[in-house]
């Protein structure tokens, strides 16, 4: 057993999977604004109704979660009874979007919270549960809703406050990723000719990094140091250079956070400029959509992964991706009490094969 531990525990902080789980399906459900953005054509479902047929913003988000989860299970040709565990979370206090969204599925559920890094945490833990032999099928699902998040963290929409340029726009969307122990294609029962299956090969769980930034309207600056810490840990643990990955994709640093991340990593001797993308930058058209620093929220990295990133891997355009959702660990209570906003980032290693 000692040998097993030595091989799965890599460096100071990372885990490598022996029998990397396969991504059997991924689903994305988004709002109108996300559907109009540059990635619009990649999403499975775009709702014209911001309420998604629900009776409150929270209910709307729960409905997105349920739709994304059911769509992913269906795409994999499975029944919900065949999903052994669900790992998921959202931004709302006490994870109500997730719990009310998934309760009807009746799948044993691990609720997790890593702010906007939650898809990294969910996907990594679900993969570890499969690689560890505890599950054959597991589902990772996260979400956010612009209106619910504004209500939770900032101002009521009706207040119509001005937004500083460093602020990001919370993505309305839910992404679900279904993992299987057995080899499978993405969104098809088998790996098709000329396409690749996608596996989760490892994870670097993040530490909480606190640079003392107190501006909740500048999440990018709060999260960039955490992204730097986790990406550097991953490369150090693996003894690899940034070029090991075709892309290193952070969650929602936005334009402001991206610049800080590139600078901080350079100080550590890593230049990831060629590899770096950010879901928050990818998802909106900055000029046309008036989204300032970019998109954010648990849904931002989740739908970009489910809709866009996994497709690039499936089509062989990228071979290896380090997916690094980033989270800002604040609540209105901590913020109003004058606490800083620490960040966390969880990195998940994806590989086409």
């Amino acid at each position: 057993m000692t040998e097993q531990v030595k091989t799965k525990m890599i460096g100071g902080q990372s885990m490598l999977f022996w029998d990397p789980p396969w991504i059997a399906a991924a689903a994305s459900v988004v709002g109108k604004k996300e559907g109009e953005g540059p990635l619009g054509s990649f999403f499975d479902a775009i709702s014209e109704d911001p309420m998604f047929g629900g009776r409150s913003w929270e209910d709307a988000e729960s409905r997105m979660v349920k739709a994304a989860a059911e769509l992913a299970i269906g795409k994999a040709g499975l029944l919900k009874e065949q999903v052994r565990y669900l790992v998921g979370g959202d931004l709302l206090g006490q994870l109500i979007a997730t719990s009310f969204g998934v309760e009807a599925l009746s799948i044993p559920t691990f609720g997790v919270y890593g702010a906007c890094s939650t898809m990294g945490e969910s996907l990594g833990l679900a993969s570890a549960l499969i690689d560890g032999g505890f599950a054959d099928v597991a589902l990772a699902v996260t979400s956010s809703h612009f209106a619910g998040a504004e209500k939770q963290f900032r101002f009521p929409l009706a207040y119509g406050n001005q937004r500083p340029l460093a602020a990001s726009w919370t993505v309305t969307g839910s992404g679900a990723v279904l993992l299987k122990k057995e080899r499978t294609g993405l969104n098809s029962q088998t790996v098709q000719e000329g396409e690749y299956g996608v596996r989760v090969t490892g994870m670097t769980p993040g530490r909480i990094v606190d640079f003392g930034v107190k501006d909740s309207m500048n999440m990018g600056a709060c999260m960039a140091p955490a992204a730097c810490d986790t990406i550097a840990a991953n490369l150090r643990d693996l003894k690899e250079e940034p070029s090991y990955y075709d892309r290193i994709i952070t969650g929602d640093l936005g334009y402001v956070g991206q610049e800080i991340l590139l600078d901080l990593l350079k100080e550590k001797g890593y230049d990831i400029k060629k590899q770096h993308l950010d879901c928050g930058i990818l998802i909106y058209d900055r000029e046309v959509q008036d989204t300032h620093s970019g998109g954010s929220g648990c849904g931002c990295s989740a739908v970009t992964l489910a809709g866009y990133i996994l497709r690039q891997l499936k089509q062989g355009k990228w071979k290896r991706v380090l997916f690094v959702p980033t989270g800002a660990l604040l609540s209105t209570v901590s913020f109003n009490e004058g606490c800083p906003v620490p960040g966390i980032a969880h990195a998940v290693m994806l590989e086409a094969g």
Copy 2:
């Protein structure tokens, strides 16, 4: 590998560990009221100051979390740098008690939320990470604070509202459990003569169970159906009778919830009356301490486990315990919007050996 999966996945919902992790240390830090209760002598630290030297209720809770975590690490004779992963959470929105409490430890952290069931979720996931080969040392820590929870979920303390008899009293306390891959005694480097080591042998993660109960002042009734679902799943998956365990210990059902649980399980053909204990009932003296239905909160099951339950196992008074923290999945938003209060319960199998 197929054989491995078949053995670690038990029945429909449970996981059994092949090489069950050992509990190397456990620590409990509580408030004055808990120190005055029947379990007072079992706790490591009792603070006369409800603020724990902090400047807000949230800060107070973070200080408890940090103290409990550091104490557990110290008892195991380890440095924080030797703890590979931390799994933990609390009741406050966006888990601020945990994140501000553990950030100085700089341990890669998985934030989890299962309301008051969070210690079951944390302990189970930390154990799975070790048994899966992803960590050699992991820490599970959860907390709650009476004043912080009242502020979060009910009324400001200064309001002085009356509490119905079915209401529970949120425990001020934080419990931390340090897990190791290698055989070890509890709170001593080796298993002492005449004592036992304690292992985590498996877990049954819970499903979300919603009976439509809407009374946030009667958590016991909201959580009992979930406890029943998880306990029945554990016994069914293991093909065992309740007598397989010396004790089946729920988290914080209290007097009201206990009665409902015993009735519901009887309907399923399981009589656990002889085995059942509840941390919420154990922790306070109902008559003297005016705590109505009993204690509750993420800290309730955590400190009862760390202080009392593990000691009984170590001393050989009990051989096998099913530890089943129970959570009520509500927020003030969901409650005020008229949503019901679903429950969840995560069961962790403990064994002296």
